[in-house]
Amino acid sequence: MKILGISCHYHDAAATLLMDGIVVAAAEEERFTRRKHDPSFPQNAVEFCLQQSGLGIEDIDAIAFYEKPLLKFERLLTQHVQYFPKSYAVFRRAIPAWLTEKLRIRRLFRKKLKFKGDVYFLEHHLSHAAGVFYPSPFEEAAVLTVDGVGEWTTAAMGMGRRTHLDLTHEIRFPHSIGLLYSAVTAYLGFSVNNSEYKVMGLSAYGNKNPATNPYYAALRRMIDLKPDGSFRLDMGFFDYEFAERMPSKKFCELLGGPSREPVEPVTARHQDIAAAVQLVTEEAVLSMLRHLHRQTNCPNVVLSGGVALNSVCNGKILSETDFQNVWIQPNSGDGGSSMGAALYLYHAILGQPRNYALRSPYLGPGFSSAQVESFLKSQHITYHHFSSQSELLDQTAQLIHSGKVVGWFQGRMEWGPRALGARSILANPCDPGIRDVLNLKVKHRESFRPFAPAVCVEDAATYFECDNPVPLPADFMLMVYPVRPEWREKLPAVTHVDGSGRLQTVRRDAHPLYYDLIRSFGRISGVPMLVNTSFNIRGEPMVCAPDQAYRCMMGTRIDCLVMEDFIIHRHENLRDAWDSESLAKD
């Protein structure tokens, strides 16, 4: 049975192909269109999924769509009614797209994909829940989903048992932890639905003591948080129900001034506000999890929705709740719901048994050495071919050890927002100067943002104060843990200002070449660890194809590109006219 799961029209459009219960291909549309968080119909992602498995659309048995568009439309109309006439401007801008496209999903599938079979519609949070429960390693698990908003739900909890999955309780719009975080993101001058992770990074610089951070008290005035983690926002502080801006005048007054303009410098006050919203979010999510454990008494928990990408909060789940095991899928935002919708249809609706656990996040497009060589030749690019993998690894490890910044393009592209060793920029974590080179010359991004360390799973506890055994979501860079104090000074490039690190644990069975590279680097440097950051510049999606990787290297200070069996040095090739810095944006 072949099922196509699709999510689109809000942000992060994506497609997933399920064959007899196994995910064979999955990708976000942004990687093909090169528009970050592209919400448009995932035509390219669908085409990739079909091509990857040698299928045509006529081979697909059913499509599962990740939400119920009419329920969402009902919520939007209710908001407009409630806020009449203030909501006029938003109504005028939003309604045409709803009438022409968003409400006519079945027609869209017929028109754009020529698909004539059944289309199933699942609720947004059910797709989130299915996207994390079914690919998890657990037979049974408590489920929590937390995001901005789906149709009406902003957070939900329930239980999954084998093929059954039920969400039993919810928090409804407009009360939303995700939207509270986004409102603060907007207030701090960053883009909503895009830069929330910057606020998380910035929070490490702020005052993390709730008793002395004045903004924590201010934010707590906006939210009535019950001991069971349920909450209600005071909507006087927010405008997002009827306007495109998120914080209200009252919100700005309470936080002591207007929103930060994107060009303004980030001050200690902004850092404290970021720390405050991080504290409130952790308090809410961890209270929800404790309540969920009391309700289910299950040792396993799975977490999904955009808020599940908050790796600082995730790192505290096992130490601050009674759950013993946690799993989060690498793409826990809306993109990952395409996978959830397909899996829910297969297991819960069609009653098929579970036979898949997501261990490898490498579900996107891949390019063979022959394809890469053909590209290099066609562009008259100077390159070095390595027929031996160990030579390629030795050479790459030497380059990184000598301070070079390496673009690493190997195998199939990652599923989700994090670079996990397929489309990564790698560097030496012990080099104190590398952070500035990466931030300013390669990624063109804010200097306060940290870099992630990639470490072989067996070594994680040597360098990090992590849960033991280290939870599986660390493979997807979804857990932040303190770097062991004795290593902090020796690992300046990956130790954040508060001593934490968002590590990626690497298993040999998931990506042997990447694992072996870390080991090769360890043999030379004494520290088997690499800086791993996504292969892109600020504002661009991660590179997907060889031409994009080459272009990114030539326009930045990436020194060389290790692409399949080839190493390409920037200095050996003519500099491209492309200037990455001028293109860097949020």
């Binding site: 009902e74 045409p96 289309v119 609720e123 819960a348």
Partner: protein
Amino acid sequence: MRLPKPVLRLLSFLDRVFRILLKPLQVVSNFVFVTISYFLGVGLSAIFYRRAAKKNPQSTVDSYWQEMQTTPKDQDAWLRPF
């Protein structure tokens, strides 16, 4: 029957011209249609909504969790976009 190439070219040119000319007209008609729907549809509903909201004031509760039902009774519900 296939039309000769010059005729096809002319038709495609006319099609493009009409599209360009119709675009501003479409924008204006959309604006008028959406504005009328807003003030009539949304505006009238708002009057009833506000009356109903006054009759149902929010009460203080111990928990804001609300019960939800994600498994529908009939299988056809999965095929509906609502």
